[in-house]
Amino acid sequence: MKIAVASGKGGTGKSMVAANLAFALAASGDVTLVDCDVEEPNLHLFFPATATTREVTVPVPSIDESLCDRCGECGKFCQYGALTVLPDRVLFFPELCHSCGGCTLVCPKRAIHEEPKRIGTLSASAPLRGIKLITGTLDAGVPLAVPIIREVKKEAWQDPLIIIDTAPGTSCPVVEALEGCDACILVTESTPFGLHDLKLAVDVTARLGIPAGVVINRSDGKDDETLQFCAERDLDVMMTIPFSREIAAIQNRGNLLCRARPEWQKDFCALYVKCQALAGVER
């Protein structure tokens, strides 16, 4: 079972929901929590632990100048402008390269081979009994979130129960994180922005064919518009978390709602049961 937590709007409480869901479920079995918000991972703040970390790399071309005759085939092939062939040398712009490998294939002199280039890291830890946390972290200034997300998901993919925390928004990193998931929890809040971006996120999950349900976080009780939208789109509002200074204070101390107020555990377990229903899985 693979559950993604997404939102559209940032700061609605994706990580809060993912962390508490994992904590509540860990009481009865193993959970793998995957932080796919690789540009700003934050689940490790809820689950501090010593992690083992390895580098994540992508292949980029390296040109053997002694074999290259500046024929220009690689530059013509590259759709991203990463290779420019001058009369006396070839210029490579690593930040434009998409690691497609095409240049190595089209080079008639076999003058290009691929070398690994670091783009970030993957960390794994076991912060609590029953919880494995896998975190992808993109290096500052690197524009390639997708290869790290792919690597992080691969690391977790064989585990029985996976909860994936995605980046905000609806762009490539979110699509990559969502792909292959059985159900998606869309976290929204009681603001016009929360609803606006929820609509965008719903369109994405629909296009990907992933069944989705909604969690309203920081609810001020005036959620008529959100509830109406959910009814129109046949989306189950699986959980509503009230706007509460107490919950905010628990979060701000780096604590988990389900640990500080254990009565919430049954609510998050109920959220899981609803996700199973979304995915069409019988317990």
Partner: protein
């Protein structure tokens, strides 16, 4: 020598385009004969990396100088490496006038 001028249209009467990689046309003019060739920019609507690709086009057409508006870092790196000097001029100035200004050496070098 040949000079490449980014242009909004296909003739020297059109205005100079201030964008380099996404310019609609490149007009290559010959300072000795005064003749010109207009090249429709195949990268004008490209998704990314258009700067270096347009720079490659300038180099492949044997231009020794470029007159444009703004130039990105990657395009500039390619043109510098190939020894193509870069000049700026007021956007919208007719290409023909920019060409005369280039010949009279009154254009500013790009920063």
């Amino acid at each position: 020598m040949k000079v490449c001028i980014t242009s909004q249209g296909a003739t020297p009467d059109a205005g100079v385009e201030e964008r380099f990689g996404r310019a609609p046309y490149f007009i290559i003019m010959d300072t000795e004969t005064g003749s010109f060739v207009a090249i429709s920019n195949p990268y004008a609507a490209g998704a990314g990396g258009v700067g270096p690709k347009a720079a490659q086009l300038v180099i492949d057409n044997k231009a020794g100088a470029l007159v444009s508006g703004m130039l990105g870092g990657n395009a500039k790196a390619v043109l510098d490496a190939a020894g193509v000097t870069q000049y700026t001029c007021r956007p919208g100035m007719p290409v023909r006038e920019a060409f005369e200004a280039f010949k009279n050496n009154t254009l500013q070098r790009s920063a």
